[in-house]
């Protein structure tokens, strides 16, 4: 059980890292971009990705600096 917890903890720290908002934000962005692409809104879809990445980064940085 201890090994399983340590294993899960390792992967959580490795993938999610210091801020879960980054991982969650990336998932949301890909879902939204995918939905836009399927609706043939390609221009909006490719704009959403880099702009969304900047927003996710900004939110994460804000959380990191306001916590100090």
């Amino acid at each position: 059980m201890h090994f399983l917890k340590a294993f899960v903890r390792f992967w959580y720290d490795f993938i999610i890292g210091d801020d879960w908002v980054v991982a969650a934000g990336v998932v949301v962005l890909l879902v939204v971009s995918g939905a836009l692409a399927r609706a043939s809104m390609h221009t909006t879809a490719w704009i959403v990705m880099p702009v969304g990445v900047v927003v996710v980064l900004a939110i994460s940085l804000r959380r990191a600096t306001s916590a100090r």
């Binding site: 490795f14 210091d18 995918g34 879809a45 990705m49 880099p50 990445v53 900047v54 980064l57």
Partner: protein
């Protein structure tokens, strides 16, 4: 696209250099304070284990359908890249301390000297375990980048896992050679700048591949990668600038000083 293989090798090389410098600090501290033979055996076993992971997972990734590979691997690359970039921005803007290899070396040295001996069969198992863990954990991040970046590049026809592994291997040899000569932590390396660049590249390629996997069509196809990279770098540099300005410096008495515009 010619830039594809270039960015692949550069990312793997820079990421590997940064991680191997951190591993070198641990290995040096353990080797100097304990027993070199056990330390180096621990390092060798870790490298073999990491090579085995690449050898096992590399071909397996090649069997995954390309769109699924792009989404999963691209999103992992993007998350990883944003983590590195986030930390590099916070360090560059002074919100968290720069990674100090010398301080880490001295701390590890002190801890190793104090640790109880555990010698069985001629091996210092404390030294072996610490060296193995340090090398494996630091190296695993490199393996992750080599596999994700390499697999996506292979699917795109712009690179391969072998090319990424070659970039990483060059860094391992370089850091090991320099470390063996100077026998000190490589604290003068611009680690944070390197992490900044790697973070930006991983974020760029993760953005491009992850979104391609969900059906997004980029204008200019692969040429969009350069535009995304420029956008990410510019955003990151502006973030450092904004955060530096907002970072108050404590003065004597404990009250933070707020910069007032000169009149």
């Amino acid at each position: 696209m010619v830039t594809g293989p270039f960015f692949l090798i550069l990312s793997a090389f820079l990421a590997s250099t940064v991680e191997m410098v951190e591993a070198l600090t641990i290995v040096l501290a353990v080797g100097v304070s304990r027993q070199w033979r056990s330390t180096l055996i621990g390092v060798a076993v870790a490298l073999v284990a990491l090579a085995a992971v690449v050898a096992a997972l590399g071909p397996a990734l090649a069997l995954v359908p390309i769109d699924a590979l792009r989404v999963v691997v691209g999103s992992l690359l993007l998350i990883f890249g944003l983590q590195w970039l986030r930390k590099a921005i916070l360090r560059a803007s002074g919100h968290i301390e720069l990674h100090d290899e010398q301080a880490i070396y001295e701390r590890e040295l002190a801890a190793s000297r104090q640790a109880q001996g555990d010698a069985r069969g001629g091996m210092d198992w404390y030294a072996f375990t610490l060296a193995f863990k340090g090398m494996f954990l630091e190296g695993f991040e490199v393996v992750f980048i080599v596999l994700t970046f390499g697999a996506n590049a292979a699917a795109d026809g712009t690179g391969s896992i072998q090319l990424a592994a070659a970039g990483a291997a060059v860094a391992v040899v370089l850091v090991t050679s320099v470390g063996a000569v100077v026998r000190q932590p490589l604290s003068r390396l611009p680690e944070n700048k390197m992490k900044f660049v790697v973070g930006a590249m991983l974020t760029t390629f993760g953005t491009f591949w992850g979104s391609e996997g969900v059906g997004v069509v980029w204008p200019g196809q692969d040429a969009a990668i350069l535009a995304i990279l420029a956008f990410v770098l510019l955003t990151a540099l502006i973030s450092v600038w904004i955060l530096r300005r907002s970072h108050a410096t404590p003065v004597a008495g404990g009250r933070p000083a707020v910069a007032r515009p000169a009149h």
